[in-house]
């Protein structure tokens, strides 16, 4: 290459660089981010991505998924459902912007919100719905027997983990990470049965239906749904939405909430029909065939509600701090936004009351 060609090549590259869209794109993204901060509404979405996992505390999602409520209530938009196996993975997808709406335990939500994640709780899904089960040959019959034992929770720092630590401290016990002698390990609820068989763990705090499934295998419930915390009056799963998505797509969120209320109503008014839907969804999503009697028992231990007890959430936030998973509380007034839910419930309650076989609040 001669000196001249090299020079002209350099000029060519420089000019092409200055015309290339790279700096433009960069300034645009910077602009759009500051614009978002001033809450200029982004364009409306053509797809809504809903995430949940195959647990009974997410039953409204399972019912809506199985019955096609989302597709009928959210109009003009493609509905994509995604299944997750733990709050961690769902929360990561949410943080990465790969999900718009999600069913999740309050633990990951509160932690995420405290870190500034654009998340809002727009409805409840289920209260209680978790039990502490001991392996039949573990010799554990009371909470105090857990000293020196292995106890499983679905995921580190999730709702059951925080509640287990709270129960332990109530019984004067401590986890190993707090220099106590109770070993808390994370095991996926569906794998607790085999971990019990291998005697790897002695007890597990699991969400339903896994508690009832373990019980059907002969293992013992040593703390039922009411004795875990607050007499069972605490949100085990809530519905979250990406705040930016909600601001830009109020109609989609409204449609989702209608479907959600419809599913919750079916779960409360026609448990038998709901159970069929849940069972079939669990088979499809988790590849698990749950014994109908166990499922029925599990559903009785779970209270399906679209409402959220903010007081319970605040108390949970404090337990989360006690467990060492956070140093500060999020702003709950911003985090919980039930305005749309309540206005929907109100308009529905004004309609003539449908018969018991029909769905609650008049939504079909």
């Amino acid at each position: 290459m001669t000196h001249r060609t090299r020079k002209s090549l350099a000029v060519l590259i420089l000019t092409s660089l200055s015309w290339s869209p790279a700096p433009l794109v960069l300034s645009q993204t910077l602009l759009s981010q500051s614009a978002l901060a001033q809450s200029v509404t982004p364009p409306t979405a053509s797809t809504v991505r809903i995430g949940f996992f195959p647990n009974l505390t997410h039953a409204p999602a399972l019912v809506a998924y199985e019955k096609g409520y989302y597709d009928t209530q959210i109009k003009g938009v493609k509905v994509e459902t995604k299944e997750f196996t733990s709050g961690t993975t769902l929360n990561e997808a949410f943080a990465a912007g790969a999900l718009d709406i999600g069913f999740i335990g309050p633990g990951p939500v509160i932690n995420g919100a405290a870190k500034g994640m654009p998340v809002q709780i727009i409805a409840g899904s289920a209260n209680a719905g978790a039990v502490l089960v001991a392996r039949k040959d573990s010799g554990v019959r009371t909470l105090a027997d857990l000293a020196g034992k292995n106890v499983a929770i679905p995921a580190l720092a999730n709702t059951q983990d925080v509640l287990l630590r709270n129960m332990l401290s109530g019984a004067g016990l401590k986890s190993q990470s707090d220099n106590g002698d109770v070993t808390i390990v994370s095991v996926a609820p569906a794998d607790v049965g085999s971990a019990f068989l291998n005697k790897q763990i002695d007890a597990a705090l699991v969400p339903e239906p896994w508690g009832a499934v373990l019980e059907a295998q002969g293992h013992k419930v040593i703390a039922d749904e009411k004795s875990i915390w607050r007499g069972g009056n605490y949100p085990a799963a809530v519905v979250i939405v990406n705040t930016k998505f909600a601001q830009a797509n109020p109609e989609i969120v409204k449609g989702f909430l209608k479907a959600h209320l419809q599913a919750v109503a079916l779960l409360n008014k026609s448990p038998a029909a709901a159970q069929v839907a849940v069972s079939s969804a669990l088979l499809k999503l988790a590849n698990q065939k749950i014994d109908p009697r166990a499922l029925q028992r599990a559903m009785q231990r779970t209270k399906f509600t679209a409402d959220v007890d903010t007081e319970a959430l605040k108390e949970y936030g404090q337990l989360n701090i006690n467990a060492g998973y956070s140093r500060k509380l999020p702003d709950f007034d911003k985090l919980v936004n039930l305005t749309m839910l309540y206005s929907l419930m109100e308009t529905q309650s004004k309609l003539p009351k449908p018969g018991a076989s029909r769905t609650l609040m008049g939504i079909k």
Binding site: Q33, K115, N150, A155, S177, A195
Partner: protein
């Protein structure tokens, strides 16, 4: 004008390296600060700023709250685990390596398998370790020991085999017994290569530990990574990664210094 002796030149170049390293660090932190606090390339829950990470360091090491001091505790637990695991790995690996070098059938069979196992990432052994030993610290030790054992065994056997045959002959001629030949000729001659193996084994064990600690209940650096991930606390994740890197580098430096001193003593490396 002062005269520049070789020692002074060396010291000066070392001082310059140090200065460059500090400048490089400042540059990295500066760019990091620009990306986070100034331009906000990503939100805080994805890419925390140097200040957020510093806060985690502060509470993790010097905080006085009931749940603070986790970094300190984790570093202690991790070092304890890796120290014990590494010592056992070196002991077992040393014995196995020596046996392999002395006995050909063992070398041809077991040695070949070890060579293959070395390419398997440590995390792949975790499910096996859990099923075999249970969900507890023993499973962590198993993975750490296994990962350290392989490079030590291979290094020792290779190093002993590489001792020039003439030295064996000389040892025999001078009346060394079989045992004496091993302890006074072969092993001393193999020391430089063995030390290189020890260094590899250290970094293998350390990496294996962090992976395996994801399953422990007691605090450790790997566990802390998982806590950070599960609580959306990326600052904690970054702080933990920094500590893992710094500890790994410090120990590597320590063994490397030992290695280069030994190599100098053996006349394998030019010294100052």
């Amino acid at each position: 004008m002062t005269t520049l002796t070789p020692a002074k030149v060396l010291r000066r170049s070392r001082n310059m390296t140090f200065v460059w390293q500090i400048l490089g660090l400042l540059l990295i932190v500066g760019v990091w600060w620009l990306c986070t606090d100034v331009f906000k390339v990503k939100p805080q829950y994805v890419f925390p700023s140097p200040k957020d990470v510093w806060e985690e360091f502060y509470y993790g090491f010097w905080g006085s709250g009931p749940q603070d001091g986790k970094l300190l505790l984790s570093v202690g637990n991790s070092l304890r685990r890796v120290a014990l695991g590494y010592v056992i790995a070196v002991g077992l690996g040393g014995i196995m390596g020596l046996l392999m070098s002395l006995w050909r059938p063992l070398r041809e069979t077991f040695g070949a398998y070890l060579q293959g196992l070395q390419s398997v990432p440590s995390i792949a052994f975790v499910p096996f370790a859990i099923l075999f030993l249970g969900l507890n610290e023993r499973a962590v030790f198993f993975v750490v020991i296994l990962e350290g054992f392989i490079p030590v065994a291979l290094a020792v056997s290779g190093a002993v085999l590489n001792v020039p045959p003439a030295w064996r002959t000389a040892g025999r001629t001078l009346g060394a017994t079989h045992f004496g030949l091993v302890t006074r000729v072969l092993l001393p001659a193999a020391v430089p290569n063995i030390v290189t193996g020890l260094r590899t084994a250290w970094s293998f064990s350390w990496r294996a530990l962090i992976g395996a600690e994801l399953l422990t209940s007691n605090l450790g650096l790997g566990r802390l990574l998982e806590i950070g991930r599960n609580t959306s606390n990326m600052a904690l994740v970054m702080a933990t990664i920094i500590i893992v890197g710094v500890i790994g580098a410090l120990f590597d430096l320590l063994i490397r210094t030992l290695e280069s001193r030994i190599r100098r003593d053996y006349g394998l490396e030019a010294g100052s």
